[in-house]
Amino acid sequence: MNTIIRSTARCLRAGAAAVYLPVRAGARVWSASPPRRLLCAAADLQKDLGAMVKKDKVVVFMKGTPAQPMCGFSNAVVQILRMHGVDQYAAYNVLDDGELREGVKVFSNWPTIPQVYFSGEFVGGCDILLQMHQNGDLVEELKKLGIHSALLNAEKESK
C-alpha cells in the first residue's frame, strides 16, 4: 500500500494520476490514466510488481476481469481456478494499463498474458495451469498455499 501511495504522489507531481480501483468478487484492479510518466516510473512499476505478486496467495495478470474475461486463455485460467473453488484472488487487468501489460512481461520474463503467481512465485500461463489441473499438480500446489481444492470435496462425495 505504501509503494502505491508513494508512486501516486510521484505521478501527481508529474501531472498524471495513478488510481487504485478495487473490483468486487475478490478481484482488485490497478489502473493508471494517461501514459505521461517519468522514466523512473518503469523502475517503480517493477518494484510495485514485486510487492503485488507477494501481497496475495494467488495473483493473476489477465485480459479483462474474472467476471468478464476478454480473452479465451485468460478465461481458461479463471475457469480452472473456479473449478478448484478459488474465487478470492488478486486479478489485474492488463487491458486497462499498457505499462502494466508490458511491465509484467519484463518482470516475469514471460512474453504472454495471462500470468499466474502462487505465493509470489511465477507458475506460468494458461497452458501450464491447464496441465497442472489435468495431472493433479494443481491440487497439490493449492494445498501448499493452504487452499483446499473444491475438487477434493467432489472426489470424496463420489466415493
Binding site: G72, F73, S74, W110, C126, D127, I128, Q131
Partner: protein
C-alpha cells in the same frame, strides 16, 4: 491394437496439420513465399530443441484478427531436451528460441512441451480455448500485425 488407439487418440485437427496444404485451410497457396513467421518458428524450434516431433499451427483464424494474420500460434514440441525439466523451464526454452517473433508480430503462443516418453503415451494435440475477442480493437495487436507485414 496400438495403432488403432493412436488413431482414436489423435483428433482430426492433428491429421489436417500433417496434410498441408489445404485450399480451405490456408489463404495462400504457395508455401514457399508465404507464412514467413510460421517458417521462422519451425526453423528456430528445430535448431534450438532438435525435436523428435514438431507441430506449428497458425491459429490466428480462430481469433479477432484479419485473415492471413500470423499472430496466434500453437506449438507442440517433443524433445528429449525436456527430460527432467519442469513445465515452466520447458516453456522458457521455447520462449527463448522464439524471442524475436514474440517481441514482434506473435501475440499469443500456446505451448505443449513433451518428452518422447510423454508423447508416446499420450500423442494428442491440445485444443485452444475459444476466443473472447480481446484482440478486437486492441491497438497493440494491430501494431504488431502491421510490424509483421512490413
Amino acid at each position: 491394437m496400438l495403432p488403432g488407439v493412436l488413431r482414436c487418440a489423435r483428433p482430426a485437427f492433428t491429421s489436417l496439420a500433417l496434410n498441408r496444404p489445404l485450399a480451405h485451410f490456408r489463404p495462400h497457396m504457395d508455401p514457399d513465399s508465404s507464412r514467413p513467421v510460421e517458417r521462422a518458428i519451425t526453423t528456430k524450434l528445430t535448431a534450438a530443441l532438435k525435436p523428435d516431433h514438431l507441430e506449428v499451427h497458425n491459429e490466428s483464424h480462430m481469433h479477432a484478427v484479419p485473415p492471413g494474420s500470423e499472430s496466434h500460434f500453437r506449438v507442440l514440441v517433443v524433445s528429449s531436451q525436456f527430460d527432467g525439466l519442469p513445465l515452466i523451464k520447458r516453456h522458457r526454452l521455447v520462449n527463448e528460441a522464439l524471442k524475436e517473433e514474440l517481441s514482434g508480430c506473435v501475440h499469443a503462443l500456446s505451448i505443449q512441451a513433451k518428452t518422447p516418453e510423454q508423447w508416446g503415451s499420450n500423442p494428442t494435440l491440445a485444443k485452444s480455448p475459444p476466443c473472447m475477442g480481446g484482440s478486437r480493437g486492441d491497438h497493440t495487436v494491430q501494431e504488431k500485425l502491421k510490424a509483421g507485414r512490413e
